[in-house]
Symmetry: C2
Subunit: 495 residues, 2 copies
């Protein structure tokens, strides 16, 4: 989830100086529309310590017309608050129709901190967040627009900031910063879970990389503009902009358009000799593991997604070559059958969930909903935005039953794809694998990149992580896949 | 909740013979529309043992064209099922678009039985039902229509049926019936909680009185017709029919139109001497209890609803006369202020939630949403149908904080109201209390009665029950209110 915010996005000072006034003006204009409507706006500002949440709140107050904006922070419970139900403190500050409420701390702060400091257990944590989700659902049904912003720093970056900050910056830090920094891993684990439980289509989370201040501020403004524009569309404009990651790429520099895929080291490769040795070792290991799974009645689901010609098929063949044919099934996902179309889109995947002791490999998967169906407009916006949570629920069902869930994204560069397409066209044995559609998909490379970034942001979870595999070198990719599968299965099996 | 299904509704055989063929035809016609649509229908048949669920399922199969109907029952988990995530068994049988799935046992059966037999604890029970709610939300978003039917019998009626049943009926009973009957109270408590947690606007529960077989079957058919008509409206018809209780009163006999209000004994009264003595005793008791609440830092919320001229004001004055003026506040709810209108409708009630040690009395309340706003079309159908769950969540917030929640419905007969109106008109001191609007409301008496019945069905919960007070005799009503308040407060206070 947070890996999408450790990509190294940045904006130059000059870009910032061009963009900020434009966005400021757009926000003021949109606020005017909000003011004349029966809707209200809640902005939730959350994230790791040191990410500059305070600066963001200052910015928001300077961008909006402050007459109709209130900023709220919740400190320790007051007497007044303690003597009433917990949610009373939020109800009393809900913004009126036409106005904006900025929540510097929010209904997320207490459950997350209570869990990090182990004041509450898993099930209390989960039911508190369910109550939060209910509250948000109720407010959205009533016309409130809720924009939830999560500011992320990598562990290294947070440590660097806390050391290097100027005396004046340190002065502004909360005295707990040091303590929170020591608990970085717990904090991000708990936060990831909180975000996952409350990341709904009607009130999605936006994860913002906060390392570069310019990028952080501009992205904040862009997300708000997009959210307000969707609610107050201008005639003749249909801003179809992704929910996360680089928003509205058009006018931005290369640096700010990076996605999580750009963090992969595409030069990874293996010599023939290394390949042979490591492939054999990994396949032997996997062969044994599959039988152990069978004996221990464990099962696994392995998902392959990736660019056309990224090597999914080759990787799957190397994988299955190592496993007794009775122990696995490969489910190729193409266009749905009539019967499948007649059901909920997850139905065709539920059908093939493996029994205890078996392994199901999906060659493409339910992620089609948020990839091809999104990019090609086969699913409506509300369908694919709510799909993230539906998918997370589905995978959590599997995982809580004890199923291992692995998801591989096979990544190649755009140039590498082109040369593979050309090679396929020239090879009579492979020509059937390449169609006009592949070339068309290629034209929408940047849209797919954003969709992949959003997918990782919303569905790469601790329990079912995405494994992004650099695939320009087929040998490296194939060996990596099998080794990763072995690693993950070993972790789940009793030795 | 279940008190609405212990009213004694029935239908004569001749009525049944007239109505059944009509409803049968309507269902077939509507099924045809379903078949040509991209929607599916799930009917969940649930309720207490002995209520005739099996007969209902047989009926459903005879009314619908059976080619597109499948009935499902889940027995003990099969091997196949046990080896996969719990929800797999439901996914595999979800009806395809255009078809009907009848669930004789459903995703509700296991959590309810597991809780009754104490195989799971409260928090497991709650999270399982949250998962059920998520599943239903997902299916409804995908176009599925879910109709949830709960068949209820009183404890006495269940016992009577199990004894008297003919040999052939006993033959059809499950061998667990006797066991379940002994656990009647646990079963209804747990079921009430399950229904409350999953009674959403998008998939509401319908509680059906199952004592009279004719009434049970016809009501089942009517609810299905109404639900399908709302989804497939005919041009020029807008069937605005309540979600619960007697459906479509027009063509039904008196007996079948009874509501929970008809169960009250309206002849209750007190002599002057009894009134004086009991009033004084109760007021003394309440005076002391209010101070004890203050010392023990407990609080309470008391809601008064009722017909115009039913005596709310008089009851409240007798109540507050007993309490030190520093310890309570009366909040009269009239038309909302501008500021209140600018917020979610629950906001104006959250504002006045009492601090520890205090008591808030609401003279009319949040129930306006499902009473006057519903009947007068001030709230849209989706607004008031989802309000039941929003209200239950609100009250659960209060109760889980330790607040005592009491809700009084002051009931008078229609004749009694008329004579009180006349009296007010003739009395210069009271004339201001009666307006044209009161007479207009009176014209919609039957609509209000159904709204009250639905309100009790959806919001009379174990934690915050409705107390229905027969109010034709003011003395009886006033004393009863104070005595009930004392009883409930005493139960919450340490002596």
């Amino acid at each position: 989830m947070f890996e999408v915010a450790e990509v190294g996005r940045s904006l130059s000072k000059s870009e910032y100086k061009t963009l900020e006034p434009q966005l400021h003006f757009q926000l003021l204009t949109l606020q005017q529309q909000l003011r004349n409507s029966d809707r209200s706006l809640i902005v939730i500002v959350a994230g790791v310590e040191g990410a500059g949440k305070g600066t963001v709140v200052d910015k928001l107050n300077s961008w909006f017309d402050s007459r109709d904006v209130r900023t709220h922070a919740f400190w320790d419970d007051t007497d007044e608050e303690r003597e009433r139900p917990h949610f009373w403190r939020y109800w009393r500050i809900l913004p009126a129709r036409g106005t904006v409420g900025i929540m510097f701390t929010s209904w997320y702060s207490k459950p997350i901190l209570d869990k990090v400091f182990e004041k509450i257990d898993d099930s209390d944590f989960e039911s508190e967040l369910q109550r939060v989700a209910e509250l948000e659902r109720m407010l959205v049904a009533d016309g409130t627009l809720i924009v939830k912003l999560w500011y992320h720093l990598s562990k290294q970056e947070q440590a660097r900031r806390l050391e290097q900050d100027s005396p004046i910056a340190q002065f502004k830090q909360s005295p707990f910063v040091g303590q929170y920094a020591r608990l970085y891993d717990q904090f991000t684990n708990v936060s990831e879970r909180a975000l996952r439980l409350t990341d709904s289509g009607i009130a999605p989370w936006h994860i913002i990389e906060a390392t570069d201040n310019h990028y952080r501020n501009i992205t904040t403004a862009r997300i708000l503009v997009t959210a307000l524009q969707q609610r107050f569309p201008e005639p003749d404009s249909s801003p179809e902009i992704p929910t996360d990651g680089p928003v509205a790429t058009a006018t931005l520099s290369e640096d700010s358009r990076l996605t999580v895929l750009d963090t992969l080291d595409m030069d990874r490769s293996l010599s023939d000799a290394d390949y042979d040795a490591r492939l054999e070792a990994a396949q032997l290991r996997l062969h044994q593991l599959a039988w152990t799974m069978q004996h221990q009645k464990k099962n696994a689901v392995i998902v392959f997604e990736g660019w056309d010609a990224a090597g999914k098929g080759g990787a799957i063949r190397r994988l299955t070559a190592a496993i007794d044919a009775r122990l696995y099934r490969v489910i190729p996902i193409a266009a749905p059958s009539d019967e499948e179309l007649a059901h909920h889109y997850l139905w065709r995947f539920w059908r093939h969930v493996p029994r205890a002791g078996f392994l199901t490999i999906y060659d493409r998967s339910w992620y089609g909903r948020v990839l091809v169906e999104r990019v090609e407009n086969l699913a409506k916006r509300d369908q694919w935005t709510r799909a993230y949570q539906e998918i997370n629920n589905f995978e959590e069902n599997l995982v809580s039953h004890g199923t291992t869930v692995l998801k591989f994204w096979m990544h190649i560069s755009k140039d590498e794809q082109k040369s593979r397409f050309r090679e396929r066209e020239g090879n009579p044995l492979k020509r059937h694998k390449i169609t006009e559609e592949d070339w068309r998909n290629r034209d929408r490379w940047d849209d797919y990149k954003l969709a992949v970034n959003d997918m990782v942001a919303h569905t790469s979870t601790e329990v079912a992580p995405w494994l992004l595999v650099p695939g320009n070198d087929k040998k490296y990719a194939r060996v990596t896949v099998i080794e990763k599968v072995c690693e993950q299965l070993e972790a789940k099996l009793q030795s």
